[in-house]
Amino acid sequence: MNDLLHQLLENSTARTPDHAAIVDGDRSLTYRELDQAANRVANTLIGAGVNRGDRVGVFAQKGIETVVSLYGAMKAGAAYVPIDPASPPVRAAYIVENCGIRHLVTSAKLANAWGELSAAGATTIIAHDADEATAAPHGADLLDAGDINASSDKSPDVAVIDEDLAVMLYTSGSTGQPKGVMLSHRNVMTFVKWAVEEYGITADDKLTQMAPLHFDLSTFDLYGAAFAGATVHMVPRRAIMFPMEIRNLIENNDITVMYAVPSILTMMVDHAKMTVGDLPSLKTILFAGEVFPTKYLSRLMHLVPHVAFANLYGPTETNVCTAYRVPAPPDEDAPPASIGKAIANVDTFVVTDEGTLAEPGTPGELFVRGGSVMKGYWGDAERTARTRIPNPFGGELDDPVYKTGDLVIEEPDGNYTFLGRRDAQIKSRGYRIELGEIETAINAHISVVECAVIAIPDDKITNRIKAVVSAAEDLTRPSLMQFIAERIPKYMIPGEFDIRTETLPKTSTGKIDRKSLESSELEEK
């Protein structure tokens, strides 16, 4: 059966137990080894009281043990919740508390955050790299490498169905706190099944794993590889920022499939010293998460003419829901690549402001229905009900649709063109950011009177973020940056600050005039 994500691992283990499943630097595990290691973690979790339906936090730098932990959590019948190890402890603790994580699989390298997370409710700490000398935080149990190794390596065979939660991904929330997107096994599998078939992934393929695990892109590399019995190569976070490192990793490991955000690919065009025909092993480059600047897409396609390119689109709430194969290098000044058409087992349609179905050529909001639509936001039925609604055109069928908030237009060839957002959500370097979450963090500072965070379009990273802040005279930029760095992830911290003592411009209704702030920004350019 191929209904559950961890079944993909088990099936490939049965077929090719000795084939390499995962590679991380000098280390690798075969399918059998990965499956057995995941079983040990699953049995450790069950022994520590994990029940079907629980949420297990995974708080560690990505690597072999982290992937083992994801599978272990699912095999125990739980959903895994990846928590960015680089996020401020306050945010990590919020996630633990928000979805009631009691069990945290983590690393001793992050032990300084354990106290805060255990106070938030994670009272069982499991760490592959901990030993008897590692101190447990006050009031928590610590299970170390010895405990994991002493657990059975046989599958616990917990009854799970494809509608059960597999993973929760926390994304930026407009009200100042991240929100947990609930994805079932079926949600993720809908995308994985389609992607493996569409891009012809086989056991011979070698896929990069580039995206952070709390990012939905990671579901392709991990489970697409497991589905096909292919090998996934973990790209360490520290390598992601060095274009030559990424290039070397692709060349040294004969990588065939790469899935990345455009800002990484853009960086490779500029700094990886590539010439035409480089990266000969690569067959496919998939990109998603933000608009790929056409100039760079065109240059990259000319550099690697042997590679097929595709643009995958979809908010975390629907994983990937549309896709587009880029047929040939576009002109450098052409509009951005299309986001394509709905993938298999997913239905999409465009709805006008009046609530009617939009004809091709008429802009509207993209709605999505089908297997990939999330189960909702954890613990927030009200927010869920705002975007995951009964299908207005469903007739007798009671099926949920997701309102993406993305404005699109259907072109004559049936492909969608992305036009923009309906709200203040933006992308920067592939990260999805609610400007409101940044504003909430800034407004929490005692000296701040009011602020507006604006996005300034940028041709390489989609948007730069600027904060315009009205504050008491004593507020300095470093102290404000330090303050918000304790509340929001680094990628949300504005690159520019304009701190002034006068108030911000207002509209006739008394709201901050964001448009005038944005347009004065464009004039300065």
């Binding site: 920022m241 990886a272 680094k490």
Partner: protein, 80 residues
């Protein structure tokens, strides 16, 4: 001001170093602890170019040259 002090000030002021300033020693692991991340790396490269007059070649844009303040200082010294 010495190069290492200028780099230290940049890391504290611009890259939001979270620890105590005295923890930021010459050997503090900047990449390992994500003081320099994918945004920070280009900020620091443009800082080296604009404020210290050091052009960083693509070949030099590797982890070994940015692992610690000491390694960044070493990169600068090697180029002068």
């Amino acid at each position: 001001m010495s190069a290492d002090q200028q780099i230290r000030d940049f890391i504290v002021g611009e890259l939001q170093f979270q620890g105590k300033p005295e923890d930021l020693t010459d050997d503090y692991p900047l990449l390992e602890n994500e003081v320099i991340d994918s945004m920070g790396i280009f900020q620091i490269v443009s800082f080296l170019e604009s404020d210290l007059g050091v052009e960083v070649d693509d070949d030099e844009l590797v982890p070994d040259n940015f692992a610690t303040i000491k390694s960044i200082v070493g990169l600068i010294a090697a180029k002068k």
